[in-house]
């Protein structure tokens, strides 16, 4: 039933035992170099075309962003922000979409076994057959990426073209990107290439150029090279240090076992109390006393 041998899955949602993970496949990553991105939306077009997704033709909202936000049909959108700093203008354009975290909040939050899987190559993918549309993943994700479809109540997000990567191709957006702002390969190579790009940027006066590979989520398989890595929020609200919300950690963390054990214990306490104390029975003397009392009250 699974075209990808289940051995290639590192982690599976709502599954408390480890998935079979004997094989160590190449850990891939997509590097998005904002300094090369011309905001042309080729990646959006390629994503829509490859995944056979189509959006309703919307309206213009007074900006270049179309559609305005990620949706169940648009798994990646460009976010345009105009930033003016000491006299000169910068147009920072960021390709928004799933970051494929190493510790995915969506997977941690998802209650349905197998609905979200993390392959051994680092891709976090939604297996829509198991999705129950509960929006837990939306709450788990530190980047607010998953979207629930109105049509089928399933969660959707960028799959890093797991189907293409599974047969050895690059994702559709990486292949289409005209200026190689999107680069795909092993995570190690991408980090190395990012280093070269950062040196080039530093040479052009961007002292704070850096790699965005946030530790808060264990590093991501979609990384950015930012001209201003010291202020990611300039890039349409890219979180400075994203991590799974502590509330989600509590909710999905120790609350779980404690909860079940609590219920279990309450039931057990009751059982053993009954076994030791025996039932609290009404004795014949109580019935007699009740009669006397009734006589007393009714006839006094």
């Amino acid at each position: 039933m699974s075209t990808l041998q289940s051995l290639d899955i590192r982690r599976r949602s709502a599954t408390t035992t480890p998935s079979p993970q004997a094989r160590e496949t190449l850990e891939v990553a997509k590097l998005i170099d904002i300094s090369r991105c011309i905001g042309c939306k080729a990646c959006q077009a390629a994503c829509l075309e490859w995944n056979d997704l189509r959006e309703e033709v919307g309206v213009n909202h007074g900006v270049y962003d179309n559609p305005l936000d990620l949706t169940e049909n648009s798994w990646t959108v460009m976010r345009y922000s105009e930033v003016e700093q000491d006299g000169n203008l910068e147009w920072l354009i960021r390709k928004d979409g799933c970051m494929h975290c190493d510790d995915p909040g969506c997977l941690k939050a998802c209650p349905s076994p197998g609905a979200i899987v993390q392959y051994s190559n680092g891709i976090v993918d939604f297996v829509s057959e198991h999705c129950i549309g509960c929006s837990y993943c939306v709450r788990g994700c530190p980047f607010n990426i998953p979207r629930i479809s109105q049509r089928d109540s399933k969660a959707y997000k960028c799959s890093l073209c797991s189907d293409r990567v599974a047969v050895g191709q690059a994702p559709a957006c990486a292949k289409a990107c005209p200026t190689q702002a999107i680069y795909f390969g092993s995570k190690r190579d991408m980090i190395e290439w990012a280093g070269q790009r950062i040196d080039d940027l530093k040479g052009r006066g961007f002292a704070n150029a850096g790699l965005y590979n946030p530790e808060g989520v264990g590093g991501t398989h979609v990384m950015y090279v930012l001209q201003h890595a010291d202020r990611p929020s300039l890039y349409a609200g890219l979180p400075a240090n994203p991590r799974i919300s502590p509330l989600v950690e509590i909710w999905k963390g120790m609350l779980k076992p404690i909860g079940l054990i609590g219920i279990g214990l309450t039931a057990l306490i009751g059982f053993f109390h009954y076994v030791t104390r025996g039932p609290n029975e009404v004795a014949a003397s109580d019935e007699a006393a009740a009669d006397r009392e009734r006589e007393r009250v009714t006839h006094s």
Binding site: G39, V57, V59, G62, P67, P178
Partner: protein, 807 residues
């Protein structure tokens, strides 16, 4: 383009001005990104808007639309004043040293010889001074007061940085920073590439915009070198091919010109095509004009074109005036046109002043539209409310809409901006009853020819004697036509020693072997070599690039003669040694020219013969001063657009281009700065392709609805917020659109005035998947460039107001 897309990787500085490469040619722009990373190249963008090219640029400078010559004139002055030119290159390869005759001059905005009533020049005074042998005089020291160098220095002395700031609104410091960066490429081992497109061509002085940059590239020694050149980023996949093949009023394929009423017979016609060299020993390649003309005539009329009937000279129509689209629609508007055929194209959306275009179309007797998409032009007679107000009953035109195949369903070659002809194959059958353009045209021709055979009629000879060698007459094969374009030997072609070089019936390997005695046929001489005996060179897919300079000799075929970088002789100094050791194109090895590209030169011409690298020019060198070849002046001069917010600061008496042709009725509808205070410019977005991609769902999703772009300061003044509906109106019409309020449209401080600019993308109409929209051409003025009649879409005047629109 003089160079090629992949050559851009070799550059050290990219100037994107008069174009928006990142948005209009994203995959070509990749090579700018490559140059930035591998060569530490810098990208400079000068544009009225902070475009997506500027988003990844190292430096951006704003400019008022329509003032490019003022800016570039300022750059020339900067280069000359600071002696930042490649002196040896300028002296050897440009006409800087040539002496101009007495009587030439420039005063108060006009060159000598202006005839006010004709709006034209008598260009006799715009000529070199010749010696007795008819050779132009030169002064190697360039000190002579009438040398081109001194005249140029004097002409651009007026373009001071202050004047540039006053005219263009570009802040002085930013302008000087751009000059500095440009000047850095005057070093022999540095190159700058100019990437421009309609931002420069769509002005009433478009050709001169480009000439100014060509002068700068010549002064810096960037012509003919790797990573240099004048790179026009053509807008369409085969606009280059159609122009090469002469599909214009005054052209014959291969940039020959159609005879005019003055050319009574072949000899008179050929008399004007002498192109005798005017410097000793120059190639002046156009001397072979007759070989190309006769070979063309043979491809048109085959055996019916003989020496006796002057190679069927009279079967070609002669021109009284040039019938460009503006004149065509003017005639239509005056009811002088009965029929019109649109093979693709969407004139209702593409030509200026749509109201005039719609009225013109409705005066036709019949209109034929051949297009893979349902275009607005085919539906100009339908009433679409505000988007297309017309009463169908009043339109008497018979309209035919013929379905054609699109690129995916037909076979043939396209010529891209780098002059590369590439073959493509169909991936599916045409939809429903669509047919290829070839089949439709062949069907039309055969029907008309047979009608003339049956019923006779006016002058059927040319039609009936047209060479139609196709195996299946009503369905010519693309290969057959490609071979015909390449040309073949009708009889054995022999060399001087008499041995056969090309046997009869064989494909011609090169245009150098074409003859003017009727032995050879070639549909388009510059394409010869595209389909030779070795097969379809346009289908070659070997993408090896041994030199690493992005030449790709064996990928498809580049005209002329598979040369990838034009004028590449200029990449080597007088002795034949490359200026730039790291990027060697061709060099003289003592016996012949060798290198990575086909030499744009006689292969064995010794450099000591001082044959200039610009082999097409009678001077043999690049022209800083163009004699009488341009209608509006041998030196480019700043003229304001026909609708300008300010008067001409250099010469108030002469505002707009004095020789641009304006038809009666159009002059009166130019708006003035009082009623229309804001400069408007039109342009494309990267998500859309003119009026095609509104039919494409994915692109409609990416940019669904018409908008205009305005600066934050202007928006505050008008109380407009991002996303509001606004009405932008000129003296000719109005459009309604959403407002994109942005920091990227900067207000220009010009002296004590502030000029605001408004940007209007062009992509929406009343057919297709996007929201219905008005067309930018409802606003644009009906005037074209003085030399080539390209409409002035890029700079005109509008006003804007906030409106409320019911959803």
């Amino acid at each position: 383009m003089t160079n090629s897309w992949t050559d851009i990787r070799n550059t050290d500085l990219v100037l994107i001005m008069g174009g928006n490469a990142a948005e209009a040619h994203p995959c070509g722009f990749k090579w700018v990104t490559e140059a930035k990373h591998h060569n530490r190249a810098k990208l400079v963008v000068v544009d009225p808007r902070f475009t997506r090219s500027a988003a990844v640029a190292d430096f951006y400078c704003p400019i008022r639309a329509g003032t490019d010559i003022a800016f570039l004139g300022g750059v020339i002055k900067y280069l000359l004043d600071n002696n930042k030119i490649q002196a040896e290159y300028v002296k050897a390869y440009t006409n800087a040293t040539f002496i101009v005759r007495e009587g030439y001059g420039f005063q108060d905005g006009l060159f000598t010889g202006y005839k006010r009533e004709d709006r034209d020049y008598d260009r006799a005074t715009w000529e070199y001074e010749f010696d007795e042998q008819g050779m132009a005089k030169v002064d190697e020291t360039m000190e002579h007061p009438r040398s081109v160098f001194q005249l140029m220095k004097q002409h651009y002395a007026r373009y001071t940085p202050e004047m540039v700031e006053r005219i263009c609104g570009s802040p002085r410091d930013k302008f000087l920073r751009v000059c500095e960066m440009i000047a850095s490429t005057s070093a022999p081992d540095k190159a700058m590439t100019s990437m421009y497109a309609l931002g420069w061509t769509q002005h009433s002085k478009g050709s001169q915009n480009i000439r100014t940059m060509a002068m700068i590239q010549l002064l810096l020694g960037n012509m003919g070198v790797a990573g240099g050149g004048m790179n026009a980023l053509r807008g369409h996949s085969n606009i280059q091919g159609l122009t090469d093949l002469g599909l214009m009023s005054n052209l014959i394929p291969g940039y020959l010109t159609l005879p005019t009423d003055r050319d009574r017979d072949l000899d008179t016609y050929m008399g004007t095509k002498g192109f005798r060299p005017i410097r000793p020993g120059q190639t002046s390649f156009w001397q072979n004009y007759k070989k190309f003309f006769v070979s063309f005539a043979k491809s048109m009329y085959g055996s019916n074109a003989t020496a006796e009937n002057s190679w069927a000279y009279d079967w070609l129509p002669k021109l009284d005036v040039q019938y460009d689209v503006l004149r065509a629609f003017e005639r239509m508007h005056q009811g002088q046109m009965n029929g019109y055929i649109c093979q693709g194209f969407n004139p209702l959306m593409s030509f200026p002043n749509r109201a005039k275009i719609r009225t013109a179309l409705s005066k036709l007797k019949f209109l034929v539209v051949m297009d893979p998409l349902q275009t607005e032009t085919a539906r100009f007679w339908e009433n679409h409310g505000e988007y297309n107000e017309i009463d169908p009953a009043s339109v008497r035109t018979e309209v035919f809409e013929l379905p054609t195949t699109c690129f995916a369903e037909d076979e043939g070659s396209l010529t891209n901006s780098s002059r590369t002809l590439q073959w493509h194959w169909p991936g599916q059958a045409p939809p429903a009853e669509a047919r290829t353009d070839i089949d439709i045209m062949a069907d039309l021709y055969i029907r008309i020819r047979d009608k003339y055979r049956r019923d006779g009629g006016k002058f059927p000879d040319a039609i009936q004697n047209l060479r139609w060698p196709y195996l299946v007459p009503h369905a010519p094969k693309p290969e057959e036509i490609a071979k015909e374009i390449n040309g073949y030997a009708i009889e054995d072609v022999k060399d001087a020693q008499g041995n056969v070089v090309v046997a009869a019936g064989r494909q011609m390997p090169s245009f150098a072997l074409l003859t003017d005695d009727g032995k050879t046929s070639a549909g388009c001489w510059i394409y010869t070599g595209c389909y030779t005996e070795a097969g379809n060179m346009m289908a070659r897919r070997d993408n090896s690039d041994p030199s690493g300079l992005g030449i790709y000799q064996n990928w498809a075929f580049s005209w002329p003669a598979n040369r990838r970088i034009l004028y590449n002789r200029a990449s080597a100094d007088r002795q034949g040694r490359p200026w730039n050791a790291r990027r060697r194109l061709i060099e003289w090895n003592g016996r012949a020219w060798t290198g990575v590209d086909v030499p744009d030169y006689g292969p064995a011409v010794n450099p000591s013969a001082n044959v200039g690298p610009f082999i097409m020019n009678p001077e043999g060198v690049g022209r800083l001063w163009v004699r009488g070849l341009m209608r509006d002046g041998p030196f480019p001069e700043h003229y304001e657009p026909f609708e300008a917010p300010v008067e001409n600061a250099l010469h108030p008496a002469v505002g707009p281009n004095p020789v641009a042709r304006v038809f009666r009725g159009d002059m009166e509808v130019f708006g003035n700065a009082r009623d229309f205070p804001y400069v408007a410019t039109t342009y494309r977005l990267t998500e859309h392709f003119h009026y095609w991609s509104k039919h494409v769902r994915i692109n409609a999703i990416l940019q669904p609805e018409m908008f205009i772009e305005m600066g934050e300061e202007l928006a505050r003044e008008k109380g407009i917020r991002a996303g509001d509906w606004v009405r932008v109106y000129s003296n000719r019409g109005y459009v309604k659109a959403k407002a994109v309020v942005t920091k990227r449209m900067m207000p220009l401080r010009m002296g004590n005035r502030t000029v605001h600019q408004i940007g209007i993308p062009i992509h929406w109409g009343f057919t297709g998947a996007t929201r219905k929209g008005f067309g930018a051409n409802m606003l644009t003025p009906y005037v074209g460039d003085a030399n080539i009649e390209t409409p002035e879409f890029k700079a005109f005047l509008v006003n804007v107001e906030k409106i409320t629109v019911q959803a």
